[in-house]
Symmetry: C2
């Protein structure tokens, strides 16, 4: 584990973010297969369901649809979200739910409300870049701990909690972006116990939890904290409708313990007053329609097929030259070239060969593993998956040859 | 003018904000006439136009409507906004336009990007409370300068620019909330010249400019800066569709000089990635339809009638007991009880009598004028205006009697 100078990290995160943005342009370049995006598959959007919800709202003919709303979110939507959270095992009332402008805003809110300059926050290595961007704005000190297929390394976390005064830890327990890793049940319990012992806040970010492709769902850190003495108020849970319904609506949500709720709501008021009323009404009606329950299996099946297609293509075309773990869910495959091949160098060849990915080094604030890469399977087909593997093999061969 | 301790200001702003939020609940209480809101009249929403834009967007059947979008905003909307800005005399390209999640986000963005702790920002006294909230988060030092019917006092501003190292000044030049004041043309020119001489940034907030009820539009500070040597890059312009189309869509916008554009866009990326795609497409199609040009005169005429109704009701029922200036536009009347009557004390009686307003003291970070009050005429009718004046007179009489 290593300490990161805040300003350097901020600059690095900014530069990496620009680099990733730059890569996104290839997602619309004809002839290029993009494994670089982090976007949900548009062909899986439930357009019919979204239009039905929208039509219902318009037929209700309430001018409130277009009027200012409450900072905390529309009451009906907060009720629906509390129900959804309950299905995930989070027992909290609607009064603990805050609607956010995407889960990016939830990250910004926790950074603003809880992190002061000089505070210390522990993050995973690698970690979700946009979360690091939000934290960097607070000028908090970020300490990174390695995280793999089983989630963050708890021995390192324990040592850090014991040796440093840590304010918060940020984890994506389910199918993390970019690592694809899932925090095991044992580690979840241990993390909550450690947090309780050292009074460390846990920022639990769960955008992908409903996209489990195999195995059984694990309890959230929020749920475990509710059963752990001294931990009840320590977890702030964040999620979103971006991966399971529509990212364009910018609908995220948080479950916030009573003790902090009003502070977070007051911060949101200063940030954007409230989130789009129309989006909120659409999501509220969509959830009330019960369609999400029918839709999730469709999404899971489709992503499972795409994940498998990419995995088998990589095995077929790259064989021993690459290694990766099959993720239990989500949208990302975290892979590693053998022999310490620099993924950024391969990327240059890959673009020529007609395939793009994100070099893993973009997801480290420090000590980057240069042979890693993040591959998204969310928008591929069996054909493009095969072709992507073939092109990647060509790029790798040209790069090392 | 006076200096404000940042932490005290932050606490005060928070408390005032909660007090104003508390008052808003009366806007839906049966039997109470609310002059407290800052909301546009829902009966004036162009529902037909909004639905037409929405219908067009859905018929276009592009899944991009629900997908992630660019942080800067949808390209088509940025073009439309550049055209709208041009009509207001702001000559800037679409590449200078940033779409924001309401203009509250624009305020948050300028605070985040330009203000560091210990920086000094000059604000009007009284000032828009939510702007002060956004600035308070930056922990910048806020210095307030009196502002009246003709806008901010430029002699005081000049003295301050000369004696302090000022980073930025925040002004609402047209029909400010809460003062209703409009910065005169001479003062606009002088403010830009002063800013150029002392290299002070101007945050120009213009939510109400299109709601001019009488007289001719004055050039924006942004436009004047474009013609003033050394001032070209000093003005960041902010506006919104909240007052002229729909606040619920959360669509604000900024025109940002080239020198700062990418810094602001990167900050927005960390804050909420991008604003609601659906809202953007609705506004884009609405602007493309040309309906706004037909709508604005309808809004202006309606607000002019409401403004006059409130003014004459106050004159009729309160006579000499209250004084105010007729605003040239916007939605607010700034009034003052004679004889230093405390508006907060009157409010308590007013609620009993069935009318609410916001005591003016809520809009001061320091040196509050306790006899002031803000009255919104946006949602009243001739009948409720008359009754509001009658009730206010009763409340005042009971309060002083």
């Amino acid at each position: 584990m290593s300490e990161t100078d805040t300003l350097l990290a901020r600059r690095a995160v900014g530069a990496q973010s620009s680099a990733v943005r730059e890569l996104l342009k290839y997602s619309r370049t004809p002839g290029i297969i993009s494994l670089a995006g982090g976007i949900p598959a548009p062909d899986l959007f439930d357009i019919q369901g979204l239009e039905a919800a929208l039509g219902e709202e318009l037929r209700a003919r309430t001018r409130d649809t277009f009027q200012y709303g409450m900072t905390e979110g529309e009451a009906g939507l907060r009720d629906q979200i509390a129900t959804l959270a309950g299905k995930r095992g989070l027992h909290a009332g609607a009064h603990n739910v805050l609607v956010t402008t995407g889960s990016q805003q939830a990250l910004d809110l926790v950074a603003r409300v809880f992190l002061n300059p000089e505070d210390t926050i522990v993050v995973e290595r690698p970690a979700y870049l946009a979360a690091l961007q939000a934290f960097a704005f607070s000028e908090a000190r970020m300490l990174s701990v390695p995280s793999g297929a089983d989630g963050i390394d708890l021995d390192r976390v324990e040592a850090l909690f014991a040796s440093e005064r840590v304010k918060a830890i940020y984890v994506v327990p389910n199918f993390a972006n970019p690592s694809g890793g899932t925090l095991t049940l044992d580690r979840r319990r241990r993390l909550v116990e450690l947090a309780a012992r050292h009074r460390v806040l846990i920022f639990e970010d769960d955008p992908y939890g409903d996209l489990r492709l195999r195995g059984r769902a694990l309890p959230s850190l929020f749920e475990i904290a509710g059963q752990t003495p001294g931990a009840r108020d320590l977890v702030v849970y964040m999620s979103t409708f971006s991966k399971i319904l529509s990212p364009g609506l910018r609908m995220g949500w948080m479950v916030i313990p009573d003790a902090y709720y009003s502070n977070v709501a007051i911060a949101k008021q200063a940030i954007d007053l409230h989130s789009c009323t129309l989006s909120q009404r659409i999501v509220e009606r969509y959830l009330a329609s019960g369609r999400l329950g029918e839709r999730l299996p469709i999404l899971r099946d489709a992503y499972a097929v795409r994940c498998e297609a990419l995995c088998s293509s990589l095995e077929r075309h790259l064989g021993d030259a690459i290694e990766f773990n099959r993720p239990d869910g989500g949208m990302f495959l975290w892979a590693r070239f053998r022999d310490d091949v620099d993924a950024s160098a391969v990327l240059a060849r890959a673009i020529e060969a007609g395939v793009v990915f994100v070099p893993g080094s973009a997801f480290f604030v420090d000590e980057p593993q240069r042979n890693t890469l993040r591959l998204s399977y969310s928008t591929i087909t069996p054909e493009t998956a095969d072709e992507a593997g073939r092109r990647l093999a060509i790029a790798l061969e040209e790069s090392v040859g």
